[in-house]
Symmetry: C2
Subunit: 267 residues, 2 copies
């Protein structure tokens, strides 16, 4: 019954299914054999199958919902070149609307065209929690504009990123256009929006960390609960050293590469 080789049995389940996927025996988008079938085939209990499959789900090879388990299509890794992207966005802020409308930031460092992209935006008002208050150096409870974005490929509805962006309400209210979600996607993005109220961004600080995806995030990003997300906290600081925007960017960790180039002074 037990052919122990030192490794748990579910490891063999995971390995063999993985190999079958990579070899092409199980095709992307296709259904996985049922857990009961797999249990029979590998001679383990349903629990063993589930334990094995969990790892494959976390790594993005397979997916499951109630009623079906399936092989995930290998997803292209998206590269985001932030050190160049931010300067590029700044350069565009003073261009005409026509020029700005031509391409969005996602197209800048992706091969994707804006016609391939599905964009979603939602605005709301909130009161600054203690963390936001600290980051913006404003009193707790200050009125903030919260903007929630998600960008997806038009094909599969998996989002490439989920963004929660915050601005001080009274600062952006100077230009009522900026409170109107109907104007999204705003040509040129946030730096262009800030330009309309006389704000010049001096520098952007990105803080990166990682953690397991929460259930809501997993749904939107097209990954499984327990898979990893990259969390990017982005702070924009203007030429007077004031924090003018803060955003939390959630990226599917396994399918994203955020790239920073540090140029060093020559000797």
């Amino acid at each position: 019954m037990t052919e122990r080789d030192g490794r748990p049995r579910y490891a063999r389940v995971a390995q063999e299914i993985r190999e079958e996927i990579l070899a092409g025996g199980l095709r992307p988008g296709g259904l996985l054999p049922s857990e009961a079938d797999l249990a029979d085939r590998f001679g383990v209990s349903p629990t063993g199958v589930r334990n094995g499959i969990r790892r494959l789900r976390e790594r993005g090879l397979v997916g499951a919902e109630q009623g079906r388990g399936f092989v995930r299509a290998p997803r292209q890794r998206l590269r985001r070149h932030h050190s160049e992207r931010y300067q590029w966005e700044k350069d565009r802020a003073r261009q005409t609307a026509e020029v700005r409308a031509r391409t969005g930031a996602t197209e800048f460092d992706t091969d994707l065209q804006s016609t391939d992209l599905k964009f979603h935006a939602e605005y709301s008002e909130t009161a600054a929690c203690s963390e936001l208050a600290m980051r913006f150096d404003v009193p707790v409870g200050t009125r903030m504009l919260q903007r929630d974005y998600s960008t997806s490929c038009r094909e599969d509805d998996a989002a490439l990123s989920v963004v929660h962006s915050y601005l001080v309400y009274d600062v952006v209210a100077t230009n009522p256009e900026l409170l109107d979600v109907a104007r999204e996607p705003y040509p040129g993005g946030t730096q262009s929006q800030l330009f309309t109220i006389g704000i010049e961004v001096d520098r952007i600080v990105d803080e990166l960390s990682a953690r397991p995806a929460l259930p809501e995030e997993a749904g939107v990003l097209g990954i499984e609960v327990g898979a990893s997300v990259l969390v990017l906290n982005k702070t924009s600081i203007d030429v007077t050293d004031r924090v003018v925007e803060y955003s939390e960017v959630i990226l599917p960790g396994e399918w994203t590469e955020v790239v920073y180039t540090t140029e060093l002074k020559r000797w």
Copy 2:
């Protein structure tokens, strides 16, 4: 028996244990009640307890090994300021050994002193796999020097980072000192080592992604299997546009913040 409120029962298990930890009822380092006890207390089966606890393990609140489950001490987030750190390392490369010996890179962006740190290094020879070959633009099979590092706090033995660094063997062999692991930790680090063979680094490209920790990584980093790691692929390019070093840096995702500052040109 079933008091269904729409959420699975294990969610309540996770939530209540979490709250008890945050409230201080369960103290860091202390033992968790046994799974059997928890099953009794919450009126769920052992499986339910395990499902609930799994989430807490992935988020780093609790840990477990065979024979005991315990509350993890809240760990300090380590901030690594790479955009400044790399320039600082370059500046040090031409300093005297005395100056370089004074502090290491980890101390640069941490409050930790080198006396608090435990450093481990191991050198080996490998043949370039296809990925390394591509990154260095050398033939597959080229002799490489592989250097594996880990740095930990002296207190808890959890590593702050695990690094696999690669160099082209014949390039660094110019200075036999660089093949000698006994010289680690080398004052000033890699850029100082490269300086001894006449290499000036022009720029460093960091690519960041995230994925669940593998069992080996989890052990070294003091996190649980299934917790997230930040993966940082670092490429150093010299003034002749040649890749001179490549390394894979594995960081505990929940306890690390990698920081990049992008300075923008003024209008």
